[in-house]
């Protein structure tokens, strides 16, 4: 990123008047990522998504810190029927716990799981896809059949099995991250492989090969950075899936369990208060929808911005 900054400052200077190319662009010298950023920031939905995501991340970091142990501290003096106050904007639950801080703690759990699950998905997917695409031939064929097999397994059910069966040994958050990570990497692997098949024949890879660079250097230094754009989009969209999967697992009673906070287990708890506290199912539900919307707006915006065929004027 440092180099792109220096190019941008150079672009503001007198050299930027050169217009010998076909494109008529106000700023002549721009790196790919600068173009991506400009295209992204011109997309209203994408910017709304980014602001929303920033707000959610901020809430998930700051409020649990402000609240201290309020998210799990039970109390005999606070009741669900208490009027809402500045200390408890969403009131107290049946055990006298502060719902607002519980909600933000649950959001924190969701976002941590979403982030690390997607990280694992990206790591496995990129490694697998790049080896498969680079090697080609029989190796590629066998590796893609492995992808077919994993894709054919019923996804949510497999995750449920893993979480339920290995749940006792490892902390629940880690189990969920691992389960989502090791089942969800196939899409990333396919995307990276497709990019690698295309890049393998490109001039800069051939040049690196002619210079005598080793396979691992060509893959890691030259090809992976060029192949990451579609993976970045898939990873952003994948956060939404991971967060919903975690909520579903916890809702069914397999993931994060009470007293730990999760958007899913808050929904389970709210079920018992359907009649007296109907709003309780809306707090975690709306939070979940906001996370999903933010991730998909940013993901869709990135997809449009990363597409070099898209004109800036559009």
């Amino acid at each position: 990123m440092a180099s792109s900054e220096s190019i941008r400052s150079g672009a503001a200077g007198p050299t930027s008047t050169s217009t010998d190319t076909d494109e008529v662009d106000l700023v002549a010298v721009q790196t790919y990522w600068q173009l991506v950023r400009r295209r992204f920031l011109r997309n209203r939905t994408a910017v709304i998504g980014l602001v929303l995501l920033a707000f959610l991340v901020f809430s998930a970091i700051v409020f649990p810190m402000v609240g201290g142990d309020a998210w799990y501290r039970t109390s005999l003096v606070h009741h669900p029927t208490d009027p809402v106050s500045i200390d408890a904007p969403l009131g107290y639950d049946n055990l006298g716990r502060n719902i607002f801080f519980r909600l933000t703690k649950g959001l924190q759990t969701s976002l941590i799981i979403g982030f690390f699950a997607v990280l694992i998905i990206t790591l496995i997917g990129t490694t697998f896809g790049s080896i498969s695409g680079y090697a080609g031939g029989l190796v590629d064929n066998v590796m893609m059949r492995v992808v077919d097999i994993v894709l054919s397994l019923p996804g949510f059910f497999l995750i449920l099995m893993l979480v339920a069966f290995i749940g006792g040994i490892v902390p629940p958050m880690m189990v969920i991250i691992i389960a989502i990570g090791i089942t969800g990497w196939t899409t990333a692997a396919r995307l990276v492989r497709a990019e690698f098949l295309r890049l393998r024949e490109s001039d800069f890879v051939q040049a690196a090969k002619a210079l005598g660079a080793s396979d691992s250097r060509i893959i890691i230094r030259h090809m992976v950075p060029s192949a990451m754009a579609p993976v970045l989009v898939a990873a952003t969209l994948g956060i939404a899936d991971a967060v919903v999967t975690e909520a579903a697992l916890s809702f069914l009673g397999y993931g994060i369990r009470d007293p730990d906070a999760s958007l899913g287990n808050m929904l389970t708890a709210a079920q018992d208060y359907f009649y007296r506290q109907p709003l309780w199912i809306y707090y975690p539900g709306i939070t979940l929808i906001l996370v999903v919307l933010a991730a998909s707006f940013v993901g869709d915006g990135l997809r449009d911005a990363l597409d070099p065929r898209q004109k800036l004027e559009a």
Binding site: R145, D148, S152, P154, F157, I169, I289
Partner: protein
Amino acid sequence: MVTYIVRRLIQAIPIVIGISVISFAIVYLTPGSPIDKFRTGRVSPQTIANLIRVYGLDQPLPVQFVNWFTHFWSFPFNSTAWGYSFTDGLPVRDKIFGRAPSTLLLMGTSLVVSMLLAIPIGILQAVKQYSWADRIITTFETIGYAMPTFWLGLILKQFFSVQLKWLPLYGQNTLGKQGDIPDMIAHLILPVSTLAVVSVAGWSRYMRASMLEVLRQDYVRTARAKGLGPARVIGRHALRNALIPIVTLLGLTIPTLLSGAAITETVFSWPGLGWLGVQAVGDRDYPVVLAVTMIGGMMVILGNLLADVLYGVVDPRIHY
């Protein structure tokens, strides 16, 4: 066509074996043994050793796998092919086939309902592109698509069953009213609506995109130039081609008949395969878990095959 299907089925064999190996491995390599529940102190060590021998658990893992795998495929003739459930001792095959109609009823109904809604909505959006109706519907689609099914199910239950008391809260029939059709329809409404909201949101987007693509084609302009009315141009000329990608996607949704409904079935205690699978995982009912996973995998393979075959059927330009 027949040779194509046969070739695809042969290609599927290694995938089926792979699915079996993974499902088997997850169940057998996770901590805990099916015998553990007998280790209570009341059962003598000799009995436990006998049980281990009877169930073949002392044999090498590959042998156990081959035994299970070959046995598994005898299910059309043998009710014990998938073993006995750990929870109630019934043959797993009969349990699964007993639950399948409920899942098919739920998923079939919601598929039909969502198609009947999504196709007209998509057409409307495409024909009136960028109108206020299109914008409002698009907003609802975005929210509907982002909505987790289990949460939507809860909201509907809370509103229609708890607050208004219009519809039953869970199950397939009121106790003592098994087979009563109006009663079952009342029980179907909420789970079907839950599944339909999410799938209508997805399908109508596809329909809109597909219709927009077709409406740009020259032959549509020709049809209009001939003086045909909008109903005939859209309903007869454009719709048929716009449905091609939808039909293909239909095959790809077959697998979600099982796993996609697992959560909805659990929320509404709908006695289908998905709920059975979720319960079996909780009970560590390994034979049922294995059978459900295998069926899920098989449905993915068959769904993909169906999608490709349907594609050839609806689009005569494609030959196999």
